[in-house]
């Protein structure tokens, strides 16, 4: 592997990406909402619980999985609301960040390159197909993982600040989220990337690819619904298992995506 060429490909893709508003806006906006704006909503929980009757909260807690209910035993209604919201509800939502960041960068890298007619010159360089693919993968994967890690740090600060008055202690960092960020988030980034590799075979434009690729967040929505309806909840074991499943899916998608990533096929698609 020629790492200098791979780094050059990453540098190229990232320099191009930061100048594409269609890519950079969601990359900035989504973490901003999830890691700063939403945790700040916790500040309103006391007034919300004061205005709601205790039966509403009891009904909500009655719906969640028994294991999750056990985690909330001994907490005041405000504290239960904060823990449920910041620790458990936000866990699947957090995964949208690495997924979307890698997905949108990969759309620009794989399909945008073809749309901008810059792919052909790249194919004439003395890079191997493997180096080209590695460059493309890393230019989507590395930013997604970095945004997740930085996002977790920001979330830790904003969530703890917002919850401090109600909880009287720090909720983050905690083991569940550490596993989520270090094990599942990179796998989610991989899912966003590898699914886009497959979408890029058919998509003609960046917009096509972006819209089709966005469907990959649906499993995250299902996880969220599953948690609200009590089908599952994010404990460490489930999170470890979820990560494993995602890594396996990534490997399978990468295997199929790699099969279509040959110069001869790429040039024939131009």
């Amino acid at each position: 592997m020629n790492w200098r060429a791979i780094q050059a490909l990453m540098r190229k893709d990232l320099k191009v990406v930061v100048q594409n508003k269609g890519v950079i806006v969601p990359i900035i906006l989504l973490p901003l909402i999830l890691f700063i704006v939403i945790p700040a909503l916790v500040l309103f929980i006391p007034s919300a619980t004061a205005s709601a009757n205790s039966t509403d909260l009891a009904q909500l807690l009655a719906m969640v999985a028994p294991g999750l209910r056990d985690q909330l035993v001994g907490l005041t209604p405000d504290q239960a609301g904060v823990v449920f919201f910041l620790v458990y509800m936000m866990a699947p939502l957090f995964l949208i960040v690495p997924l979307m960041v890698s997905n949108v960068i990969a759309a620009d890298s794989f399909v945008g390159e073809r749309e901008r007619k810059t792919l052909e010159a790249l194919l004439y360089t003395p890079t191997t197909d493997g180096e080209l693919l590695a460059g493309k993968i890393l230019s989507a994967l590395v930013p997604a993982v970095v945004v997740s890690l930085v996002g977790y740090l920001i979330y830790t600060v904003t969530a703890d600040l917002a919850a401090a008055q109600i909880m009287g202690r720090a909720l983050f960092p905690n083991p569940l989220w550490n596993v989520l960020v270090l094990w599942v988030a990179p796998a989610a980034a991989g899912l966003g990337l590898t699914s886009m590799m497959l979408v890029s075979v058919r998509a003609k434009t960046f917009q096509d690819a972006y819209q089709t690729g966005s469907l990959v967040v649906l499993p995250i929505v299902l996880l969220l619904i599953g948690q609200i309806t009590g089908v599952l909840y994010f404990n460490i074991w489930l999170t470890l298992a979820l990560g494993l499943v995602l890594w396996i899916i990534d490997a399978v998608l990468l295997f199929y995506g790699r099969r279509t990533f040959h110069r001869s096929e790429l040039i024939a698609r131009l």
């Binding site: 200098r4 320099k15 191009v16 007619k117 810059t118 052909e120 010159a121 790249l122 003395p126």
Partner: protein, 322 residues
């Protein structure tokens, strides 16, 4: 004769039912400027792709610089440079970034990258706009930047695909001069795909003409002209007062002739080279004094149209007398 640097044997490529290139037999010598002519869709770009190992042939094989493009593609591409039909630049990057990134991809030694990039930006008259985004460049500047990128790693063979397509005459001339400079002075072999016949005539030592994926003619422009263009136009210089008599003598001899635009000149069109002595005899026998006989060399355009069974636009022809 030097060793061939490009050899194509029965090279072909189909896309489904469409034959893009068929049974191509071709050799190009080191240091040669070889023109690959043909209409759009004749198979020129497909040939370049196969010769650089980025498109698999469906029949036959190629050897470029002694390497099989499909086996040694990576090694080969480090020794060739390809200017694609569209400049294929990252327009959101600066001119300098476009070159620096490709210098890394082409494995230019790290400590030479900056100097090489500056040298090319200066040589291609882009240094003043080097830190502007390429998207803001004129077409000519983009083409020059793309050509500079092609030369970053000092390739032994340059493949140029329609290098002046869409350029105004001034920009096209600049590109021609740069091609001549980089080839004649640095000894590169050039494989020039073009449908611009004037460009090919000006730049190429030999040309191959493609039609519907097949090579239909191959040789130097001069040799092809001699082989394929049998109808020459011959310019006879006589006394101005002798023109009517000369026309009469030639017409009586069954020759198609007309008065030239300059006084004292006669144009004989549709003549074969071997008929020229007979035409001179007709005039001498009629007592016409001849001061000059100049066969007009057919151009590549004449060759091209002869191959396609069409007549090029006639030049310098006044009223035709049968």
């Amino acid at each position: 004769m030097t060793d061939p640097v490009i050899v194509a044997s029965d090279l072909g490529r189909r896309f489904g039912e469409t034959v893009a290139v068929s049974q191509l037999e071709l050799t190009v010598q080191a240091g040669e400027v070889f023109g690959f002519l043909g209409h759009n869709g004749a198979g020129k770009t497909t040939t370049i792709r196969m010769m650089n190992g980025i498109l698999t042939p469906t029949t036959g094989s190629a050897r470029v610089l002694g390497l099989d493009p499909m086996v040694d593609g990576t090694q080969l591409r480090s020794r060739t440079g390809v200017l694609t039909e569209t400049p294929s630049l990252d327009e959101r990057l600066t001119g300098r970034d476009n070159l620096t990134i490709y210098a890394d991809l082409y494995r230019v030694p790290k400590d030479e990258v900056q100097a090489r990039v500056d040298e090319l930006l200066t040589g291609f008259d882009l240094i003043d706009r080097a830190d502007d985004k390429a998207g803001g460049y004129s077409k000519g500047m983009k083409q020059r930047l793309a050509l500079a990128r092609t030369l970053l790693h000092k390739p032994e063979i340059l493949f140029l695909d329609e290098p002046t397509s869409g350029l105004d005459p001034v920009a096209a001339r600049q590109v021609h001069e740069m091609i001549l400079q980089t080839t004649r002075q640095q000894g590169h072999t050039v494989f020039l795909c073009t449908h611009n016949l004037v460009e090919a005539q000006r730049l190429c030592d030999r040309v191959g003409v493609m039609e519907h994926g097949k090579l239909v003619a191959l040789g130097s422009p001069r040799d092809l002209a001699r082989q394929l263009v049998t109808n020459l136009t011959v310019d006879f210089e006589v006394d101005a007062s002798s023109v009517p008599g000369a026309l009469q003598a030639l017409t009586a001899g069954g020759v198609t002739a007309s008065a030239g635009q300059q006084a004292g000149t006669i144009l004989v069109s549709g003549a074969a080279r071997e008929q020229i002595p007979d035409q001179v005899s007709l005039l001498v026998n009629a007592g016409i004094r001849i001061y000059g006989v100049t066969p007009q060399e057919p151009t590549l355009e004449d060759v091209y149209f002869a191959l396609h069974g069409e007549e090029p636009v006639q030049h310098n022809q006044a009223e035709v007398i049968q």
